[in-house]
């Protein structure tokens, strides 16, 4: 399931959402262009659900059967989610006779390898302004790193 949030990099073609109708129109465009086959749910204009789950632009959560959080990542890696699900379901289902599985929590860092060319194409899809503003943001991040 996919939850459409806000445009992280608004531009001339795909702007920020100033109305729910605008948000719905952008969500439909994304569904068509990206070919998302899963159900898409649309958050409200204020981002109520996005806020409750942590406001990151590309994140994934896994909720275990019954409603407990099993996994949260501030970046989406399909391979990482898949590997987690296999391990989680296996551990939950195949516990030794006479034992009861007890959930515990880990926190671990992972690496990702951004495809800059693909990302820049996505920015350009939103509009040239999205590219220019991302480049300005990169300078701001560099300044942060220097202080």
């Amino acid at each position: 399931m996919f939850i459409y949030t806000r445009e992280a990099h608004p531009g001339e073609t795909v702007p920020h959402h100033h109305s729910f109708e605008r948000k719905l129109a952008s969500a439909k465009l994304l569904a068509e262009e990206a070919g998302i086959g899963r159900d898409i749910l649309v958050d409200n204009l204020d981002g109520t659900v996005h806020r409750a789950y942590g406001l990151m632009p590309n994140m994934t959560w896994v909720i275990a059967r019954g409603g407990r959080i099993a996994y949260k990542a501030n970046w989406t890696s399909a391979a990482n989610v898949e590997a987690f699900l296999i391990r989680f379901l296996d551990a939950r289902g195949k516990h030794p006779p006479g034992t009861t599985p007890v959930m515990y929590e880990t926190q671990q860092a992972e690496f990702r390898y951004p495809d800059r060319e693909r990302f820049m194409q996505h920015l350009l899809r939103n509009g040239p302004r999205a590219v220019a503003e991302f480049e300005k943001a990169q300078k701001l991040w560099a300044q942060r790193g220097a202080t």
């Binding site: 992280a8 719905l24 569904a31 159900d39 981002g47 959560w61 515990y104 300005k136 701001l140």
Partner: protein, 76 residues
């Protein structure tokens, strides 16, 4: 929508990414992620409209009988 909600929506739906970063929005949002519910806790419950037919979908109905993968995102 009330005045406070309009303000919240305007801040949330920032029009310029560089201004959002210059104002520390990215750092604040990352802090929100780390302050959000942890693994093992109950997932926040909401009802959201489904894009293709407008049906109101309760999240707990989706995780009642099997695990639910929830990906959040936009065009970028």
């Amino acid at each position: 929508m009330g005045e406070a909600n309009r303000d919240a929506g305007a801040t949330y739906n920032y029009p310029h990414f560089d201004d959002y970063v210059a104002n520390g929005g990215d750092m604040a949002d990352e802090a929100t992620f780390w302050a959000s519910p942890r693994a093992g806790q109950r997932a926040p419950e909401f009802v959201l409209p489904r894009l293709d037919d407008g049906a109101h979908v309760r999240l707990s109905d989706l995780w009642r009988s099997k695990p639910l993968v929830m990906e959040f995102g936009s065009f970028t």
